[in-house]
């Protein structure tokens, strides 16, 4: 992987909510203010936990969307009790944050365009990479359930969007019906592209399809994996992803921590059949 020379320092911070508002029918934008200046690399995440009586045994991992000074931004979807509690909180509510954590997406490579694929709540790391690094020949595709689930205000106009079910779109914006990988396939087939790099985040089927899409072209593909986590910093081994072991047959794979070795992995090293 094209690693960064320096990874921003991880900090354990006190924080409070500054913004916690829906940006689409399913996605909520969270902005927090932390007690120190923060930096991150796209693909990295932070563990957030509530303070007070609703503090959980473990924090929850949230992919970082943006960071500026003491402000850190996330996008999330309510998936369980922890995110459910978070969605009900008003600005000012105290939190703790441990971050940034994990291995980021690779840096852009000159002469190698990037194809970005994101689905649903997988948007933040891909959008963060776009904002930090995108060049004119990079392309991005984003898929959601329906147009109401698309955070149109956050989505760059050059991005192509796809939906599972059609519905009303804002003036001047279009959403294709179908899978995001099919949309990318359709848009890129026939184009004379140099070897590119695929970066993907979203549901497992999307990531697997992104891997096949890249493999068919002989391109590199990096995917952002998601797993339930305990600590988020490599201490507990509670969030492992089965990956290939160098030079070993597939059955002889090994467990890699999603939080530390990941969450970004090469698609080809993941043992997809063993993923729940």
């Amino acid at each position: 992987m094209n690693r960064f020379e320096t990874i921003p320092k991880t900090r354990r911070c006190q924080a409070f909510i500054t913004i916690n508002e829906p940006v689409s029918s399913g996605l909520i934008r969270l902005e927090i203010e932390v007690d120190q200046e923060m930096d991150f690399l796209p693909g990295q995440f932070a563990m957030l936990n509530l303070m007070g009586p609703r503090k959980r045994t473990f924090g929850r991992p949230f992919s970082i969307l943006a960071c500026s000074g003491n402000r850190v931004e996330f996008l999330y979807r309510v998936v369980g009790g922890g995110t459910g509690d978070l969605a009900g909180l008003k600005p000012g509510h105290p939190l703790t944050m441990l971050g940034p954590l994990g291995t980021p997406f690779p840096a852009p490579v000159p002469g190698q365009p990037a194809v970005l694929l994101a689905g649903g709540v997988g948007l933040p790391p891909v959008l963060a990479w776009w904002h930090r690094f995108s060049r004119t020949d990079d392309r991005a595709f984003f898929g959601a359930r329906d147009p109401g689930d698309l955070p149109w205000d956050l989505l760059p106009v050059s991005w192509d969007a796809s939906v599972d079910a059609q519905g009303e779109t804002p003036v001047g914006r279009v959403a294709w019906q179908g899978l995001v990988t099919e949309l990318a396939e359709r848009e890129l087939t026939g184009m004379d592209l140099p070897p590119s790099m695929v970066l993907a985040c979203g549901p497992i089927p999307l990531l697997e399809a992104a891997g096949r899409f890249a493999e068919g072209r002989g391109w590199d593909c990096f995917v952002s994996m998601e797993e339930h986590m305990g600590c988020g910093y490599g201490a507990c081994k509670g969030c492992v992803i089965p990956i290939r072991s160098d030079g070993q047959p597939e059955a002889e794979g090994r467990n890699a921590t999603c939080c530390q070795e990941g969450p970004i992995f090469r698609a080809e090293e993941i043992l997809w059949k063993q993923i729940r």
Partner: protein
């Protein structure tokens, strides 16, 4: 924080346990802080590292051969803690000896090596190899033998429930460990923990670490099946604190064996409860996962 009048100890001052002087009394528990090489670069207001003020890091348990651990999910969060079923994933003893222990020494991490085995004599063999490799190490302070990991299929479980087996494991380790502390980590999943502690002490343990996790199970109501693939997990976190305190008390009262208290410690007040019952030191486990500075904060708070 306000400390009680009876509290006269500085937990960041050295203290003697068995043949060894430890740099402090606030430790991290096995399995909750990896091998003690994780998180050195993390900072927090008032702390330059999560290792500040720690008396020891008890390593993740190391077994004779590397283990890949249990299938996912390995953790199940509960309102009062969590169940875990990691399955002793570890790099294996040879790799630990070759690359982890030297790095712990280089970094100056006060270390207690946690070992598990399937037969008593394996403990002796591993400890002898440790003694050879680490004879000159300044920061390796001892060995904790894990007699009770409840989530390993081979029945690590029953291993530590029988006083005679406990005695044989401890004796085998003690024979090979002349000048470092030897601790035996005991399971709470027994009727008479004091007799286990007694057996451990009589066979040469300098202290017992009490408690390991409590056997637990959680059911997923959607599927009607246990959440963890191996059904049972080890329960830890705030919910086990009163169980741990009771087991520590039972040992102190009935067996008079030195105890390192572990189980459900989230803050300085929890740690104080173990010290009030006579614990020599305490270990912070599950709380360390949520906050890498949990143990360091307790050490700072109790130093006054």
């Amino acid at each position: 924080m306000n400390l009680p009048d009876w509290w006269k100890i500085d937990p960041c001052e050295p203290f003697v346990l068995g043949p060894r002087e430890f740099p402090g009394r606030i430790w991290t528990a096995s399995g909750c802080f990896a091998y003690g090489l994780t998180g050195h670069e993390i900072s927090s207001r008032g702390f330059t590292s999560p290792y500040e003020g720690l008396g020891a890091v008890v390593s993740k348990t190391v077994t004779p051969m590397a283990r890949t651990g249990n299938p996912m999910p390995r953790l199940c969060e509960l309102p009062t803690g969590a169940l875990n079923s990691i399955g002793l994933e570890n790099v294996g003893f040879d790799e630990f000896l070759a690359s982890v222990l030297p790095e712990l020494e280089r970094r100056g991490v006060p270390t207690v090596v946690s070992l598990a085995a399937t037969r008593p004599d394996e403990f002796g063999v591993m400890v002898a190899a440790l003694q050879m490799a680490g004879a000159d190490y300044e920061h390796w302070h001892g060995v904790e033998i894990n007699l009770s990991c409840p989530n390993v299929a081979e029945g690590g479980h029953d291993f530590g429930r029988d006083p005679e087996t406990v005695a044989r494991c401890v004796a085998a380790a003690r024979k090979a460990l002349p000048d470092r502390a030897l601790l035996a980590k005991l399971t709470p999943n027994v009727a008479d923990i004091a007799s286990l502690a007694k057996a451990a002490a009589e066979s040469g343990a300098d202290a017992v670490s009490v408690i390991n996790t409590v056997v637990g199970l959680e059911v997923d109501l959607t599927s009607g099946r246990p959440v963890l693939p191996r059904r049972y997990g080890g329960y830890s976190g705030p919910g086990v604190l009163p169980i741990a305190l009771a087991k520590v008390d039972e040992i102190v009262q009935k067996a008079g064996v030195p105890v390192v208290g572990v189980g459900g410690i989230g803050g300085a007040q929890d740690a104080l409860k173990f010290f009030a019952l006579g614990a020599e030191a305490v270990q912070v486990g599950t709380a360390q996962m949520e906050d890498p500075f949990a143990a360091a904060r307790i050490a700072a708070d109790l130093s006054g």
